[in-house]
């Protein structure tokens, strides 16, 4: 997904003079294609993320479209106030791009677990959060990002995620339907979508339809689409590779409670006790119950 991001960026920048890419000293063997083609529009800011966000703001104030690149906690927590005051309050055209969203760096320990980033970005003013599941959702998001001149957070996983779509996504809104609305539905956010697809396929073989919707864009603009789904009187399971506190599940729940008849929302995400467990992504997904098997357990209970 990292490489697809850079491919999209290189393509976009080839037609523009005002696209900047700043990195906090990360991106080895990822960012080179951009640097090669746009050497004057690239800065390695060093291990100095607060300055990176301030400089991005200054560049954006001068009419540039700026992308910053780092690992999720360094890109968000470390410089949160710069994102809040400088980028968001001034409503600037800066896209904070993070790799390692979720648990792809699960073996590296808690410092590298990107599991609170959605919470702390989506609460900021003017901000839109993009969480693509694969390279096709990334392209889908990127086409919206280039038109969006307000602050953006683009949360990428790592690299080597499987393709989950056979062709270019043609959804008209922000929510992408995989399996049509049913009694039980999964609303999925990010690369964890692969587990939801496996789960739905498992039930399909048994003749049970589980609805599935991918929601890569968390914003005010997406809310009416989610609201429409939630008002159909069905059950919804939210799925994310992120803490349950304040993340995508909270976002959906907040929409639900605003309804006259709130929907039943079951949140599946990284558990608060166990946030510091270490292991590879597959292992950690299983521990937190956010893999296919975890979902099956939740749905079997509902089917009883």
């Amino acid at each position: 997904m990292r490489n697809s991001f850079v491919e999209n960026l290189v393509k976009y920048a080839s037609k523009k003079k005002n696209v900047y890419l700043l990195t906090g000293d990360l991106g080895f063997s990822v960012l080179e294609p951009f640097i090669k083609k746009n050497p004057k529009n690239f800065f390695n800011m060093g291990v100095a993320e607060q300055n990176m966000m301030g400089v991005s703001s200054g560049l954006a104030l001068e009419g540039n479209k700026v992308f910053t690149y780092s690992i999720s906690n360094f890109a968000t927590s470390r410089c949160h106030e710069q994102i809040r005051n400088d980028i968001c309050y001034h409503d600037l055209d800066v896209t904070v791009v993070a790799v390692g969203g979720g648990l792809p760096y699960g073996t590296h320990g808690y410092t590298h677990h990107g599991i609170e980033d959605i919470t702390i970005t989506r609460c900021l003013p003017n901000m839109t959060v993009y969480v693509p599941a694969d390279r096709l959702e990334l392209e889908f998001c990127f086409n919206k990002i280039i038109k969006n001149t307000s602050p953006k957070y683009l949360r990428l996983a790592k690299g080597g995620e499987p393709d989950l779509y056979k062709k270019k996504i043609s959804a008209s809104g922000n929510v992408i339907c995989h399996k049509k609305l049913s009694e039980i539905n999964i609303l999925s956010c990010g690369s964890i979508l692969v587990e939801a697809i496996d789960c739905c396929d498992f039930y399909k073989e048994k003749g049970i339809n589980v609805g599935l919707f991918s929601c890569p864009i968390i914003s005010e603009e997406t809310k009416p689409e989610i609201k429409k789904l939630l008002s159909k009187g069905k059950t919804f399971i939210t799925l994310e590779e992120h803490k349950k506190i304040g993340g995508f599940g909270s976002y959906v729940s907040e929409i639900s409670v605003s309804l006259e008849e709130p929907a039943r929302v079951i949140s599946c995400g990284v558990l608060s006790d166990g946030y510091d467990l270490v292991g590879n992504q597959k292992y950690l997904r299983s521990l937190h119950g956010i893999d296919k098997e975890g979902l099956v357990k939740v749905i079997n209970k509902l089917l009883k």
Binding site: A48, Q50, N51, S57, E62, E81, D86
Partner: protein, 263 residues
Amino acid sequence: MSELFAKKLLEDVVRMTSEAKTSHVGGCLSCLDIISVLFTEVINIDKKNPNSKNRDRFILSKGHTAAIIYSALANKGFFSRKWLSTFIQDGTKLPGHIDHKVPGVEFSTGSLGHGLSVGLGMALSMRYNNIKSNVYVLVSDGEMNTGSTWEAIMFAAHHKVDNLICIVDKNKIQSFGETKDIINLDPLYEKWETYGWNTYDIDGHNHSEIKKAFIDSKKYSKKPSVIICNTIKGKGIKDFEGRLISHYRPPSEDQLNDILKGI
């Protein structure tokens, strides 16, 4: 010209903070002479064309001394002087920390350690686009505790951003005491110089010295410039001069009247 402007600023900031019964007059008064020279003889800004590409950019990084910039901009005609009496009142256009929604204000600050990075970003873009004007950023000495400011200092020097000019209001006092007792900054001149900046160390209340440093720094190339201005916190209000209390206590009616009489 700058001397006359200084009198207007003095009257305004003492009146604004006194009438609103609010804090931070001390830091307004320490940078009063710097702002007077800057706004009358140095920066090129135009109320009729506030977004002109070729304007100089000014960022107040020590955003708590907003009152003096509001006064400077009102006196330069960016908005009505009547606004000044609404400073920090309910529903005002003039919040206690400087705000970009006010005509002529480039950037909102209030949390220390943000302004130099933003100015650096502007300066990089202006250099890329061959815009020949400068970016001026006023920081406080307490602000020099922040790591983010040092991040910007290192990066600006490495990239030889010579259209960036930083001004340090070295009034020697920060929020809870004297800088020398909290984190001693000295030798500050040597620090900036070692970090690769074209450095000046001047009397921040002497208009001709201030002017000279600005003119010289404008001409300097290949390095960013910093003008360390040695100032007195609360300057002009006798009981406040060099005292921490000037950071908090609003000027009394008597103090305001003394200032008005003096002018």
